[in-house]
Amino acid sequence: MLIKIGKWLLFILFALTITGAFIWAPLKEGLGEFTRVIYFHVPMAWMAVLFFLLAAYYSYRYLQSKNLLFDAYAQVSNEMGILFAILATVTGSIWAKQIWHSYWNWDPRETSIFILLLIYGAYFSLRSALEQEDRRARLSAVYSLLAFVSVPFFVFIVPRIYFSLHPEPVLNAQGKINMEARQRIVFFSSLILQTVLFLWVFNIRRTQVKLKMILRRYEETKTFKEN
């Protein structure tokens, strides 16, 4: 019952936020209508980093416990992560065409999301090159953690050292948020609601993977007993 109410609440709030992003929130001077991308682009980039963190966490759990379930979770997080990294790249690139007049110009922010995409790509090509299941799980977990070392460098350090045209990030050096009140409300509700929605999607995928694994174990023991 509580879950059902939560779902309806999420639906209504989401509808309100999307409407608010297009109608209610004021535009920023100089950016015009292109201000509105912030309510969708920034949460996507945030989700890409969040799923990357989750993948590293599950990889660590796998190495600790050697339970293949955690490896499957790590794979699911990486799948969701690559999806959001692509979405953030595409929305950012279209926005850049309008404001900077080029789809891609190796701004530090563009470099950092590109590296994130490369790491995700490398992770999946490593998985496809390893056949033995526990070896695949172990080595891709190690790679996930190793790549995790370089990501903070790109996401948090490089864009702050080198000159960037990118609008100031939400967590900027001064710790201030340069937004009007109504923009702020829409932005943060969009950020929170998207996080909740996609973590919920992630949870469904997790359950699905878990059930698949239980089913497989059951069938394996069944054939084992028949023989």
Partner: protein, 219 residues
Amino acid sequence: MKQTYLILIKDLQQEFKTRYAINAILLFAIVTLSAVSFAIGTFTAGEQVLSALFWVILFFSSMSGLSHIFIREEETQTADTLKLVAKPVHIFLGKFIFNLLLLMVLEVVLVPLFIALMNFQLQSSAIFFLTLLIGNFGLAGGGTMVAAIISKASAKGALFTVLSFPILLPVLISGISATKKAAAESALSSAQSELQALFAYSVIIITASILLFDYVWNE
């Protein structure tokens, strides 16, 4: 410490017998360098292009040779014996130092040739050689670790470059930027932030590799 030394000596002796890695890495560097030199000529490229080209040649030549250290153990099926005689940390360090030496040999050949063929003028050789020295640690650290990961996979050669690139890109970016400074300015302090970033990243990647190597090596 002694075990690390013994593994290094063993790898050096093996390398002297076949000279596989050193040949691959040096020939790759010379071929790329001459191709670039033919295409660009001596006086046309500025220091910006040249410092990027230098690191591109260095990176891809090292990609052709650094992975051999672990692939060799798999091909000759000596990995299991090695597991019995030495601790993982010592194996990693021994092979890391071997790759470090390999990169230094590469640079001893590549740097004079590059300076001569491309007419690359250094304002500050201190910055340049310091960048190379710290960069070597980063390249060898990341390269050795990825080599250990891919030695069990199929399609090793292509995979090695694909996996190394995102991990070694911070080294590449700060290396290129520091080399530009070496060509443009003479004071060592002008490249301070690049050298700091390079040093910090090399330390981080080597530490992470040592911590994670246990999981790669022990099945």
